[in-house]
Amino acid sequence: MMKPVGQPASIAAPAGASKTLLQVQSLFFQRNQLTILQNVQLTVDAGEVVLIRGENGSGKSTLIRLLTGLVPAQEPFEVTLDEQRFDPKDPRCQIQFQYLGHNLGLKDNLTCAENLKFYADFLGRRDDVTVQGALNACGLDGYQYSEAGRMSAGQRKRLALARLLLCPARIWFLDEPYSNLDAEGITLVDRLLQRHISEDGRALMTSHGTFVPQVSNHRELEIDGWTP
């Protein structure tokens, strides 16, 4: 939904769908007295990928970080998950989601396998995926003993994506998952997303580019940046 230039950003989406998993209402955010996000409403259904599109600085990343609880809410807003209140500071909700941001959460001095092993021990590991399996699935077979700091930006991104595969979560919050990736990496993201939604997972992701996720069930929302 487009807004005239100079208006605060807002996202509108049809609410009240039957199998709504994640519902966000009246989210509001200001920075330096500029209203960046106002009256944001969105839903992510079960088995659906929702792509938030917007220019640089339009508040996409902030929206995601607000939902993960990393950025504290300035005004209370309502997020519900299966009609229950979703509080990102509650451990019962934290176990439900994973976040992949611009900073990937990898340690340069650890090898690929050690990085993943840490997250497997720290966040929990899916029974049907091993560290090696996740590396192979992300095209990093043979790199398990390479230090993450010595790999290219795209390979590091793949390593971070392997974490999504390895650790269980129903909701993925992905901030620019396509950045730094080659054509094969982009299909890798799509493959991971497809697999995630086929298991009734949900993903909310951002993009400033023109990539459209090649998955069976996705929706796009436009976010309009505040232009001074």
Partner: protein, 224 residues
Amino acid sequence: MSLPRAVLALLARDLRLALRRRSEMLAPVLFLLMVATLFPLGLGPDRDLLVTIAPGVIWVISLLACLLSLNLLFYADLEDGTLDQLIISRWPLPVLALAKVGAHWLVSGLPVVLVAPVVAVAYGLSAETISIIALSLLLGTPILSSIGAIGVSLSVGLRRGGMFLSLLVLPLYVPVIIFATAAVTASLEGFSPAASLYLLAAMLVLAVTTAPFAIAAGLRISVS
């Protein structure tokens, strides 16, 4: 998945990272050895004078070594996004903060505790005084790490937070150095150091039990 396993994973990862970057790990010990060597060169080889100043010198150097090593805490985690992952994980952040501080003390505080007695021998202190110095450092350096971590958690998001960190943390270090050196001076003069050591132990308990909550709050502010 359980909390102990997650904490162990975090601790093991931090120790492994420290082993991969040995130069950073050895810096506090080298700092202690270098500065302790410079004092006799500057003051002259007067044995009585060196014995008198040794406890204070060793403690001041240890405190500064701890201050210098604080930059290893949380900065890398903030930059590479690990801190985000720690905060949004389901585990209580104060417990994770305590694990981070524990790992930091093991690689920067404990080596100082172990090397300080060697420096004390070089200064010609008696065996009894050396044991009091070692004990006071064992009790005191974890306090320095805990208090320092509060300062780091608040300044980690600032671009040039180093000066702010020193200003914030040094006044809080004052009671630690007062009671630690009081214990050593008491034993040098033939009195019992117990009172000061007990106070130091009480401060340690206070720091380890309350600092993690302050660190967690500071980290949440720094990432937002």
